[in-house]
Symmetry: C2
Subunit: 342 residues, 2 copies
């Protein structure tokens, strides 16, 4: 028998998830059957969508059941694989969730090259720029945002793995990327990445900064956050603007509808009068069609420096819950992963 | 000299337009110059978009200036045309606005066959099913709604010229059209038109009626009205639902943002979790590409009874303002036109 330390959903959070909602426990794992593999988790990905899985509300994916292990993508090392599909020591992209070890169906695992192909990148990039967040940026921008050269693309949470890829891909395609982030350090980093402009949403003059950064209005707003950032963006949307809606992290801990006034009628009025497109999406919609294109393009872009990336690596499984709370308030700086074991 | 009776925008309405906002006056018209024509108005079209032109808010078209004649499409008869482009007695589609006579550039006029081609339809249909409202339905449904056979298409203001065409085109293309209208008489008419179901938004059990009429949820919601109809529709939207936003007439007289709670975050959350598309549009966007298709298809559909239409003809220019107020509250039944002279 092998044991795992894991974080289970003891109850559904009301607001910010507490340590009473997310409880650490130790459990014994059954040995892997043929067609399964026993894995140890090297890196656990923490992503905003996980807050949604803690809630019972109907969504595109089922909620984590009470008592269930929190879900999440992992980079893991194979310990045992009785069917021989993988060798012990192989690295795989899996979906073992918030735990130190897992038993998974081999059908759900993707083998990883420790060297990430020719790119010599950390294997953790399979959870970030070369993984789901990078693909989310790529698919949402190319399929929904469709920026044309010279257009203005605004993205919030712009130092995160999705936002930073959105801005850099937009710039590579000849558009003008304006990044929104919280605090001067993140704003400075966006300028390093080559964003045409960067704006601090925590600054007192955020609205004025955004106006100055978007003199020709906004053609694409890649929506990751909602909240007061959206309020500042939406009066500046141009005719035929497109809004890929990828996330709304600012509201994920909200427990009730905010007080009035009701902004929906004004928003719909703007959608009408400016012929705006608003389109929610989950990256899986585009996976069959675009994954190969993404791998080819993003690997090349990372290799030649067109797309840079930043990881925020939290050392130690014990910091998982606190790191996740920080993710929902923007405390991380770059793609957040937990390094579970070396 | 020739005189015209006209309705000018004396001041911008606060809420419902009053007779002090819209003032009738008599004015002398200059004789038509070469390249112009003097027209008398047979039919004046009244459409919800006109409420927007009375306001100063930025929109897709400039507001009517204070003191200016209210805009609007007309079916008119040529009285004089010094350049000879039209003969006296010719019928034309023009844009003379809310007046009994007008002088217009011939470049803005479209000649009409008194017999509407082979269709033997009233010439007023150039303002309705065969005109801008019909084209709005056609373009919004085919370009944005894109219903597939078996899908459920919901449309409000369904006895109006746009809504009734939306539902009938959807049915003709194999979708299931559910019409929403106000009052039992209108609901009965929708059943006559062949809508799969019809729902009364004024009924106490409107929400339950809508649920019963859409057992498989809603794939396309053609938005004409906003307000409480939208509230009932949006929880029933399916994954990948599409919302062509064509009008929001329920709120056109609103003078301030409604009280809370703020419904925008919940709406955006639904857009995200169900991968919904919301797309505002004005029919002019599609005119170059689709007008020929529309004329061919709609003329055939009207001729063979696939698309039926209803006109609400108000007799006499003096009733224009009151008829327009009724349009904003759903008092009309069918395409509203004012018959100005025979």
């Amino acid at each position: 028998m092998t044991s795992t330390r894991r974080i289970v959903l003891a109850r559904r959070p009301h607001g910010e998830p507490t340590d009473d909602d997310l409880v650490v426990e130790t459990a014994e794992l059954d040995p892997p059957a043929p067609g399964e593999a026993l894995l140890e988790t090297l890196y656990l990905s923490l992503d905003p969508y996980m807050r949604g899985r803690m809630s019972a509300a109907k969504s595109y994916a089922k909620p984590v059941p009470i008592g269930g292990t929190m879900v999440g993508a992992t980079v893991s090392r194979v310990l045992e694989c009785p069917g021989g599909e993988f060798e012990p020591g192989d690295l795989v992209l899996g979906y073992g969730g918030w735990q130190t070890r897992s038993v998974e169906s081999v059908a759900q695992l993707t083998g990883l090259d420790a060297n990430m192909g020719a790119a010599s990148l950390p294997v953790s990039t399979a959870l970030g720029v070369l993984g789901m967040p990078g693909f989310t940026a790529y698919a949402g921008l190319t399929e929904i945002g469709r920026p044309r050269p010279g257009e203005t693309v605004v993205v919030a949470a712009a130092t995160g793995p999705v936002g930073s890829a959105v801005g850099q891909i937009a710039q590579a395609r000849g558009a003008r990327a304006v990044g929104i982030a919280g605090g001067p350090e993140k704003v400075a980093y966006l300028r390093e990445l080559g964003f045409a402009a960067a704006v601090d949403h925590r600054a007192d003059d955020f609205v004025e900064q955004l106006e100055a950064a978007t003199p020709d209005g906004i053609d694409v707003y890649f929506e990751n956050v909602g909240g007061h950032v959206f309020d500042a963006v939406f009066p500046r949307l141009n005719t035929y603007a497109r809004i890929p809606v990828c996330g709304l992290v600012a509201g994920y801990n909200d427990t009730e509808a905010p007080a009035g006034p009701d902004r929906l009628p004004r928003f719909m009025g703007l959608v009408l009068s400016r012929s705006i497109t608003v389109r929610g999406f989950i990256q899986t919609e585009f996976a069959d069609r675009l994954t190969d294109d993404f791998r080819r393009d993003m690997t090349a872009w990372v290799a030649d420096g067109t797309v840079k990336f930043k990881e925020d690596v939290v050392e130690g499984f014990d910091h998982t819950r606190d790191a996740f709370r920080g993710l929902l308030t923007g405390r991380n700086f770059g793609k957040l992963v937990v390094k579970v074991v070396d």
